[in-house]
């Protein structure tokens, strides 16, 4: 199972109609063994920090499918949840600080929202990722993204 991606892969180019062309290194390529919810056929993504801002682009290597992500701590304070052991195994991590938590950003009627219910988890060490579902009704799928004032 560890042979599905070659971490030292040569530089790849990702073409995105919406965001332009990116050259990515092997370190920016993440394997999502389960894909994303409802999008299980897309398992390999480039994770690119958008220049000059806090946002990241998660772009499928094989198609025009991309998500804007925001590191969770920039969107909301006190965001915490427990990761189950199958997910720990999938990400191949041992400590909580080996995983980064991102929220998917969505635009609806001119407003920005983040999905707190199903964050994207990435493990730079193993270059694996997943969309983790938090089965707790207090986490909304659409949480308004507001600027942090004075922080």
């Amino acid at each position: 199972m560890n042979q599905t991606t070659n971490p030292e892969a040569a530089i790849r180019t990702v073409h995105s109609r919406a965001y332009g062309t990116f050259h990515v290194t092997g370190e920016q390529i993440y394997h999502f063994p389960r894909g994303l919810v409802g999008l299980h056929e897309y398992k390999d993504y480039a994770l690119i920090q958008v220049e000059g801002g806090p946002f990241h682009l998660l772009h499928a290597l094989s198609d025009e499918l991309s998500f804007i992500l925001l590191p969770a701590h920039l969107a909301i304070e006190d965001y915490g949840f427990r990761i189950d052991s199958p997910t720990v195994e999938l990400l191949d991590i041992r400590q909580p600080d080996e995983v980064n938590t991102f929220l998917i950003v969505n635009a609806i009627d001119g407003e920005l929202f983040v999905n707190l219910k199903a964050p994207i988890l990435t493990a730079p060490g193993s270059r694996r990722g997943c969309q983790f579902i938090i089965d707790d009704p207090s986490f909304p799928i659409r949480h308004p993204l507001t600027r942090k004032e004075g922080s």
Binding site: A18, N106, L145
Partner: protein, 85 residues
């Protein structure tokens, strides 16, 4: 689709290691108990559906992505402006 009649306390097996038991019936609500290996995630279907729809909206709609870019610029300028860098 397989249809089975079960009474409270009775169960069905899905494969060797997934068990679904009818715990009770209260009005129009059926209470089910699931026993499955840890790597099987059990969720309400409407929850999966709503996440799927949100993923599609966030990831596949080109028009929305252009609007998204515009809003992101405003947002990023806002937070960086306030931090003064």
């Amino acid at each position: 689709m397989l249809v089975l009649r079960r009474k409270p306390g009775e169960a069905v097996m899905i494969g060797d290691n997934i068990e679904v038991q009818v715990l009770g019936v209260e009005g129009d609500t059926v209470k089910l108990g699931f026993s499955a290996p840890q790597n099987i995630q059990i969720l309400r279907k409407e929850l999966m559906e709503s996440i799927l729809q949100e993923n599609l909206k966030a990831g596949k709609n080109q028009l929305d992505q252009e609007q998204l870019l515009h809003l992101l610029d405003r947002f990023a300028n806002g937070i960086y402006g306030k931090k003064g860098c």
